[in-house]
Symmetry: C2
Subunit: 231 residues, 2 copies
DNA sequence: ACCTGAACACCGTTCAAGT
DNA sequence: ACCTGAACACCGTTCAAGT
């Protein structure tokens, strides 16, 4: 295991986005792009637990060991697939005032993570550090910067918004995992009773989704109060 | 198959004094409590990936298959261990006004999840629905209820606070996973540069932790504005 | 350069059998 | 009731060998 010549610390090799790309040949049957697309397809179709090297190889019409010519480990596949789902949002460029840009971008991130629940499932194991994720995060930071807030206040808002997105998506993914979105199940009823939220809403998963916007709202309002920015 | 020294001949069964003792074990060597404690110890010591049935069995001085008499599957161990770390917080009863109760409880949940990073790692796969977790969540809901806010506003605040806790803990766990807390690594530097946060803070992981309180602050301020509650 | 096939050292889980 | 031991059907990853 020889570290790349540019690696300054052992941590550098831990992310595929920071390892040098391999040189390509003319007619390889596999490619990082094909592998990424198949990984996403497999995850979307069968969920996080179904991502095995052998299942992916089968999807690609290749042998499991062939995949290792393109990636170093299974985790790389997760990183590639996760960043892939942020692609469409990263490709768009929202116009408007800073608040609109923040709302739009945060919501797009949240939507990507809930449309592909496996991505939220992996979020505790793999940070969202792919190029598309970084594009979205820095878009939010730039919007915050345009308000004239201090660097510290920008950092506070940026991390809090990012944490809210991640937490909402994570909770939604976990709930789906237990089929908590089945409002009729005894487990769901038990949870509802336990938190004494019997009347409203009837379905906690629906609530988590519905209330993401409201949570973002509260966060932005609180930040305005804190910074005194009411543009 | 060597006969043990206590092996009985057929004649022994003729006398009650020589029949084997009652089958119910007075002192079973395993128990859910022991299994839970060992699971937590193993996870704390070696991390989420180290939790295998065989490793746990080794920790317990038993065979892996024995664990299945107490739990149905490996996921049950994760659920038990995760709820266990909420035990101390659930055992305490914070006194004070609603805001203090909410701050204390949310912070205790966040601390439990970051002190045991594996718990945050699993949060996307297993919802936090153990008795201790539900105790803490309903404590927050009750505090919100005491403000006289509508059921909907309570639900919004409750889910948003819970989402912030979960997201902050998840981001922290994922960052640790990539050793992003090594502020010197090129990966960390690259991320900092990418989000154009070069000056402050120097270390994003430290920031996530430090800014949890501030995020909670913003959320509560925003909720006050929304509901008009300024008690 | 790319890909295969076999092999290694693991997994979670089941189940007949023992006590 | 509780625990063992062996077995099954998998895993991720490595590596010599092929093209």
């Amino acid at each position: 295991m020889t570290p790349s010549p540019t690696a300054k610390s052992p941590a550098d090799a831990a992310s595929i986005f920071h390892r040098p790309a391999r040189t390509r040949r003319v007619d390889p049957s596999l490619s990082l792009e094909r592998i990424t697309a198949s990984t996403v397809a497999l995850l979307d179709r069968e969920g996080a637990a179904a991502l095995t090297m052998r299942a992916l190889a089968n999807e690609l019409g290749a042998h499991a060991s062939s995949i290792y010519w393109y990636v170093d480990r299974r985790e790389d596949l997760v990183d590639l697939a996760t960043d892939f789902v942020f692609g469409p949002a990263a490709g768009r460029t929202p116009k408007g005032d800073w608040e609109h840009i923040i709302r739009t971008t945060a919501t797009e991130m949240y939507t990507a993570l809930t449309d592909h629940a496996w991505a939220a499932e992996f979020a505790g194991q793999r940070p969202l550090l792919g190029p598309n994720a970084l594009t979205l995060v820095s878009r939010i930071i730039r919007a915050l910067d345009s308000t004239g807030a201090t660097g510290k206040d920008q950092a506070i808002a940026g991390t809090s918004i990012s944490n809210l997105v991640l937490g909402a998506a994570t909770a939604s993914a976990a709930a789906r995992h237990l089929r908590l979105d089945d409002g009729e199940s005894a487990l769901t009823q038990h949870v509802i009773a336990a938190v004494q939220q019997v009347t409203e809403p009837a379905n906690p998963v629906a609530a988590w989704t519905a209330y993401f916007d409201e949570g973002l709202d509260m966060l932005i309002h609180g930040w305005r109060t804190r910074t005194g920015i009411f543009t």
